[in-house]
Subunit: 756 residues, 2 copies
């Protein structure tokens, strides 16, 4: 029955195309605006308005001039459509990648400038593809679980189609019916089929791969006015043979049995109601382009789908969520697999911001981001932004402390971001993050003014640098970057959380306990993890304190561990920079020793170690001419390890950066309490060191029970800050009374800070 | 006889002071302008002109406003004159240091703003010093060979006096005769005596220490109109008991027997006729302030000395020499002991540039540097600069390739700087550089657009960071930073050049062979060193080639070694960044091994090694998102060591940075030939790698004899560059003929490049 319907719709469509072409020969083209071209990212009305405003919309004009210059040069040079051969970084890969961008840009230029040479460039390239595509077998490189035909993976083929659909839409009316038939028959339909029907293990997922696939098929469907394909894009390929044990080449499961598929499923599941994308901001940045470009096209062409209202407007919410997941320089926080340096200056974010502004109620804060980007998309959305900026409507995009829930329903933990002056602390208590997830529940990273101070390693990959494993994930991504010890969180018995197993990790999430940021001088984020190590409960509280005891805010970190068994607990601290001083004596080895055998420990060198004596330890280090200190409580039998990344790294794939690991041995319960300060500066020109010393005299665990943990931070100025946390009641109205060393304290809510 | 003269001059002076004070009560003050105050950095006429221009000289007005704001706040806060106790970085050290700067600034403000509160601030502080100084014994910290009374070393006491003299000069007329007598008797004269007569081992040297001492005594002499002290400053302390074996705490000899002393000797000896300061730019920057501030004062007060014409105007030449020794960001090249990041934005360079402009014929190029500094000195020189900028006279300071001779007569080698587009290559073939010299003849470093690419380690010291050895030289400076293996030059038999002995090294210098930079596309610097290893001759040629084979210029490096004996030769290459790829297979060790036992080798880890097979080796690395490659010729028995700094470094004083060492074993003669390229970029936002691969296909030593070395660089584009060097005739007119593989080549001059 379905097949009959499909055939029928194809016939209908063919009839319609014939009809519409006939109509074109009359003066009135397409009475129905939904069948007009362009209609994906540009609309007929949009083109009209853009052309009317050209020359008076600086940011748009500038982008247009740059694009025109680039494309003119490329038209001059000619293009190449090489036989597919290489991995990313190689010539054929990079050339096909370049081609789709050129076609998209040239198509847009044709519409805006109405100069046929741009349409011709697209047409010529498309026909070259149409000629060759049918002759290309599956791409020769075997690494992917879903090999493309232009590229080694369907993912990149999908990229190609998302862009090329836009180009096709732009020159649709420039082509004859026969030409369109050729392109659609020889190129677009088989192309769309390859990445969908031929590769359901790629297309039918909830994963950024599938999002690209869905969007690609959806975009070409809209460009070709093909409802069958559109349905496939939105709701997935039906009738596939599904094997629930199948995995992709990153080791992630294809999908769970019974899981929804198609574009809507990809909106439903990975986005939380707050707009957080479960893989993390690096992949959200990557996925946001297909999500939003397709949503834009769908909205333009078929507004009846109300795609921007879907799931309470989550696609629009995801834009501000993503911007909030960037540091002061606009670089995304490292959560799960992520390459450092990716930022909202990425081209996909220009689209994202412009679409967010145009379709999301013209939020003037987005204009300030667009202004920093100094570029807009050459379409209706970009015009809206350019006009907004021209009219001076922009307002600063103020990033505040924010908690973004994870999970389709928002009940699978969250990311908590504490911002206090120049400090930004990212605290991870999320779900696993699909196949890109790291095993690092309750981990954190710290930034100051856009610079990473206490780092998350990110991924072990040099994207598109062919010399490093073809630009793909390196084996150290699995053996190091994903492992718990690579992160600033607890490792029990030298074993990664959830045994480093996706099957286990992806079933669980941490739980928010407290996120309270209304008081700028005392911000608290607290979360619990009870599944990473069965029988062991982890509870971490991160506090940003800003008061007169210190020029800058500082961070109190309390990690409570409670277990049924005796264990070894390691808490690494990945400071970046060079050691200036430690309060403890250590023994530096003649040669660094490999720290362990597996779970990432095999990649760490032990350079020096020390035995704690129960006193505080302090490490002061220098990074980017800033002095930082880490002060921590120890027990008598604790070991301190000064380590460095880089062992068992035969090709120097890892960055040889330092860590301090505080190791507690043979304990059931433990409290790790520490303070991180940014306190001083060094100027290599004046050679002056200002505030080179920590302001913290001593940290004391003043009280610890199942219900309460109290930490005293004695400052060098004589003041004491007593922070008390209620460990098992997070009700903000609850009244507490606690006696510590004969003093009675009363407060309301889950925590209190007493400065005395 | 001398003593009688001295006494006589004191009597004369006293009489004169009495007379001049009497005169002051009349309307005409000081008929002789040489006895006016102020007269050191400000003159009466200068003050008049400054006051007339205030409000219309933006850069001066801005500096004045900043200074006024700073000093007002300090006056508000009050000051402290603590009992001396600490090393640099500590409270008493930093406070006394701060005090002299405050006094200098406040004195100047008094003159310019004519507000008595500034004079009073200086006066109060001076009287506090005058009260306490006589009670202070020698500074308690024992590290210096010449301990001060305010500071742990006379050097810092001298700094104090250089600044304070200016303050005293500014408020001279504000004080009564009695007040002046008190200050001069209780403070200034004993102070000057302490750093000169009491410490001739400090004062009577040719060394930056002595320069500060000489200038300090000279400045206070000028302020007090004391000719005896002035003579001491200019010509040294006579009649000292001199021990030629004595050394300072950096291990340098105090001076050679019979060496001239005093300020003029310090101009004569360390400056070459080109204005290069033999210790290197980092210390020139430090010494330039006393040299020039004192020269300025002497010129203002006693122009008959014609100090700026001394030694053919070398003090003025030294200013442009120093500016030429900075990279594109204005940071000084690392030669000998030097801390990274020091630049012409340092306060002493503001003085230097302003004085250079005012007293050196108003060179408009200096105005562009002053404009970048965005600050001027608040004195006559600063006014001249401010007026020049206001009048739009500035021209760009264009840094070109330049050779700066070393040695008092300019015949002790040189520094050669090749500049080609964004590349800057610094080639060292100098004399030793006094006690701050490193044992690294024929070493080089490479910068691109202000960023160091192939590094000179610099010094092992964190200046003024108290936590690191009191901010002083660390022991690793001697055991690592000064040793040959820490540099990009030849080490024979794992022993530093000159056995790492100052006595030997300071007797020798390298020799310039060729420095030819007129042709922008082919620049050659070539030098020889024949004393570093007796019996072994080193000849290095560095060539900057710019042609159509590559988007950017690249560097050809030819190191010829010729010895009477068989030796091991190590040539380290201190690339900065992360390995992307090597053309050779290496074996990375499970744990890094310490490379050697002494001469700096004990500080290197061997992380991996490889045996060369006679083919080229290539290393491609990534730094600051730029791709670089090093390609080198090898012989069959060569060893390649991938190393890292940091062994035997018990306090993490060293930066753990990488190196590649090419080791040739059991050879008499050897040619090391390599090419260094900057060829590509990586953009972490677009994730695009552009030109990630080297353009060099192969390097071949096509010919090598006593007289000629010929290198072929085969490019990937098929072109070949044949570079031929005449090794024993550097006459630029000489005609050469050489047959290589049956082809005959004819050229004129010491080298040729044939692109075929």
């Amino acid at each position: 029955m379905k097949k009959i319907l499909k055939k029928y719709s194809i016939i209908l469509l063919t009839v319609f195309v014939v009809l519409s072409c006939k109509e074109k020969s009359t003066s009135q083209i397409h009475p129905d605006s939904q069948l007009e071209h362009p209609s994906l990212i540009l609309t007929k009305q949009g083109v009209k308005e853009i052309r009317a405003n050209l020359g008076s919309i600086p940011i748009f004009d500038k982008t247009l001039a740059t694009t025109q210059k680039e494309i003119n040069a490329e038209i001059e040079n000619g293009f190449d459509v090489p036989i597919p051969k290489d991995y990313s970084g190689g010539y054929t890969h990079e050339t096909h990648k370049k081609n789709y961008v050129l076609m998209q840009k040239s198509g847009v230029l044709y519409q805006i400038l109405q100069d046929n040479k741009y349409a011709k460039f697209v047409k010529d390239m498309l026909f070259e593809y149409a000629k060759q595509y049918p002759t290309w077998p599956i791409h020769p490189k075997p690494r992917s679980y879903a090999r493309g035909r232009l590229f080694w993976q369907c993912l990149n083929d999908s990229n190609w189609l998302v862009y090329t659909s836009q180009a096709y839409d732009c020159i649709y009316d420039f082509l004859s019916e026969e030409e369109r038939n050729t392109l659609e028959t020889d190129l677009f339909r088989p192309f769309a089929d390859h990445i969908s029907k031929d590769n359901p293990q790629f297309f039918n997922r909830v994963h950024n791969h599938a999002t690209w696939g869905n969007a690609a098929v959806g975009m070409i469907a809209l460009a070709m006015d093909d409802d069958e394909l559109l349905d496939r894009a939105l709701n997935g390929v039906k009738d596939e043979n599904f094997n629930p044990d199948e995995k992709d080449n990153d080791g992630g499961y294809i999908r769970k049995d019974g899981q929804k598929i198609g574009f809507y499923a990809n909106v439903d599941e990975p986005f939380s109601p707050d707009g957080y994308f479960t893989e993390g901001p690096y992949y959200q940045r990557y996925a946001s382009y297909p999500f939003l470009i397709f949503a834009q096209a769908l909205q333009n062409k078929k507004p009846e789908h109300k795609v921007f209202e879907y799931k309470d407007g989550v696609l629009l919410k995801s834009i501000t969520a993503l911007l909030n997941l960037s540091n002061a320089d606009g670089e995304f926080f490292l959560l799960n697999d992520a390459q450092k340096g990716m930022s909202y200056f990425n081209a996909s974010l220009i689209s994202t911001v412009d679409i967010g502004y145009h379709f999301g109620g013209n939020n003037p804060e987005l204009l300030s981001i667009a202004k920093k980007q100094d570029e807009v998309t050459l379409d209706d959305a970009g015009l809206a932004v350019a006009l907004g900026i021209k009219e001076g409507k922009e307002k600063p995009f103020v990033k505040k402390s924010i908690e973004l829930s994870d999970g389709a329903k928002g009940d699978e933990g969250a990311v908590g971001i504490l911002r206090s002056d120049d400090l930004e602390l990212v605290f991870k208590y999320t779900a696993h993050g699909l196949s890109h997830g790291h095993y690092d529940k309750l981990s954190f990273a710290l930034f100051e003014d856009g610079k990473e101070v206490v780092q998350d390693y990110g991924m072990a990959r040099f994207v598109n640098i062919e010399q490093k494993g073809g630009g793909n994930y390196l084996k150290e991504n699995k053996t190091w970057a994903k492992q718990t010890i690579a992160h600033n969180t607890i490792v029990q018995n030298e074993t990664s959380q959830f045994h480093g197993k996706y099957d286990i990790g992806s079933k669980h999430h941490s739980n928010k306990y407290v996120f309270s940021v209304d008081n700028d001088s005392l911000q608290v984020a607290s979360a619990k993890e009870e599944n990473a190590y069965p029988g062991t409960k982890l509870h971490r509280t991160l506090v940003a304190i800003k008061n007169s005891d210190s020029d800058k805010p500082y961070v109190l970190d309390i990690m409570n561990v409670e277990s049924e068994n005796s264990n070894q607990y390691d808490l690494p601290f990945y400071y970046l920079g060079q050691i200036m001083q430690t309060s403890f004596e250590y023994n530096k080895y003649q040669s660094p020793q490999v720290l362990g055998k597996s779970d990432g420990y095999q990649h760490l060198y032990k350079e020096a170690s020390a035995n704690a004596n129960g006193e505080n330890i302090k490490l002061t280090w220098l990074l980017n001419n800033q002095f930082y200190s880490y002060s921590a409580v120890t027990s008598n039998t604790d070991e301190i390890i000064l380590g460095r990344i880089g062992a068992n790294d035969p090709e120097f794939n890892l960055r040889q950066e330092p860590t301090l690991i505080l190791r507690k041995k043979n304990k059931k319960n433990a409290v790790f309490a520490s303070v991180i300060e940014s306190h001083g500066t060094y100027n290599p020109v004046s050679e002056l060191a200002v505030n080179a010393y920590s302001n913290v005299e001593k940290i004391i665990v003043a009280f610890n029970s199942k219900n309460y943990t109290a930490i005293v931070i004695k400052m060098k100025n004589g003041k004491e800050n007593l922070f008390i946390m209620s460990n098992n009641n997070n009700n903000s109205k609850k009244e507490h009374t606690l006696s510590i060393n004969g003093n009675s304290y009363n407060w309301r809510g889950s925590y209190t800070l007493i400065n005395q």
